[in-house]
Symmetry: C2
């Protein structure tokens, strides 16, 4: 067991993203992860250093520290703690200064806020768009949708739409394929006009059964026969109507959203 | 103008997060950002290298490349493109190998999927919880909520709840404070039982007016007097009842969520 600290003067999301990405390359070691966010006062930095020292002593080996800490003063405290520091920020900033020919501002708290300030409204608008156009509730806004996800119930449409909105500011509607839609191999009438905006989600029937069964245990809805039938019919519709589609079975929401963005070539607002 | 490429064999979200964080320290330079995600074949890597070369020629200076590319072969193509590579992955992996005493698996595609596979269900559950308990629609599930956000209409409750769910797997409900709740300085009756789970959001009245005005232009709802009154009364309720609260006016959704997590000490599921 090895303790890993993610340390940042802000949320620590960047330190976690890169740190976890690096750690997944070491599958044989078990890591205990601790996120220390908003370490932005000398007192908090000292407490973090103490915690690192204690964890290292308990483990019998120095803790790993993944840091996006900007303050040099706090940085020194981390080094003095005895943990091993991987500084995701400082490692690159001087090379960047050299290449760009200007000094960095070394200012805490710019990272997320700067980028997001202007686009805050866009993100909120796109989230509201998802909520108002979820699950086929509303089809009258499809003209303004950037993309319309479609697939069987519980194939991952809503989380994917929300991630597309939060991360990229995309207006994502979604339309569930239900019994009525499976009577023919044609697209449901409401979708025909928007063929260019459609993107299908499919899923392994066994995985679908598991997901449905957690919600409505032992129902016909969650039976393997029903899941197999629906997935087959949905895929037939996608293929027949040249709707691009991806399998969400073993894929994170981030990756499903990323792949849709990549394949569909829709513009990010953010 | 300087062109910056974010290059990854997966979504590129990690490269973007750290890269943008570094770039915000150089406020005087304008950057053109291009995300090349899923660069996972020799053909795509060659196309990326060509695009970098062309951008560098057009700019009259080498493009910056922020990369989390794992493949050594594609990595070399990026270097040969003439752009300046900041390798967020390779820079740290050999130091990690030394310290951990094992070789990394150098396997593409582990980064998000590994971590998320087990927790996919948790994230979906928490997103569904948010959707089912949004905007005071439903108060009967407050027993199972991890946290209940409250504040005036358009103070940022829903996006924050969704981010808490997506990023951390937290069950976040939200309850809007409306006219009826402002008749006394007490907590609304339904919330009294859940005082320990409450977290307030407040907002600058002028900012609130702008947000509301975009939706319902020139309405009483969006008037500055109404916004000032509601914000004041909501803050009075927070203070009187010792509900912790934060100001969302100039803060990204990531940071609002991070600060709530930090202050409330609720457990992340993810």
């Amino acid at each position: 067991m090895r303790t890993v600290f993610f340390i940042s003067d802000r949320t620590g999301l960047t330190a976690e993203a890169l740190g976890n990405s690096l750690l997944t390359q070491f599958t044989k070691i078990e890591f205990k992860r601790i996120n220390l966010a908003f370490i932005d006062t000398p007192k908090k930095a000292k407490m973090a250093a103490t915690q690192i020292k204690e964890a290292s002593e308990l483990d019998g080996q120095p803790a790993l520290i993944f840091s996006t800490q900007i303050s040099q003063e706090y940085h020194q405290l981390l080094i003095d703690s005895g943990g091993i520091v991987f500084d995701f920020f400082d490692t690159f900033i001087s090379k960047l200064e050299d290449i760009l020919g200007v000094e960095s501002s070394h200012t805490v708290g710019l990272s997320h806020s700067m980028i997001n300030e202007n686009t805050y409204g866009d993100r909120i608008d796109s989230i509201n768009f998802v909520l108002n156009n979820d699950d086929g509730l509303n089809t009258k806004n499809y003209d303004t949708a950037d993309i319309i996800l479609t697939g069987v119930s519980r194939s991952g449409k809503t989380p994917t739409c929300l991630f597309l909105a939060l991360q990229y500011g995309i207006y994502a509607a979604n339309y569930p394929l239900i019994e009525d839609d499976f009577k023919t191999i044609k697209l449901p009438p409401i979708l025909q006009k928007y063929k260019g905006k459609l993107f299908g989600l499919t899923i392994n029937p066994v995985r679908l059964q598991n997901i449905r069964d957690e919600r409505r245990s032992n129902s016909g809805y969650a039976s393997i026969d029903q899941c197999r039938k629906e997935v087959k019919l949905a895929e037939d519709i996608f293929v027949q109507n040249q709707v691009p589609f991806i399998d969400t079975s073993h894929t994170s929401i981030e990756e499903i959203a990323g792949r849709i963005l990549n394949k569909s070539k829709i513009e990010r607002r953010y």
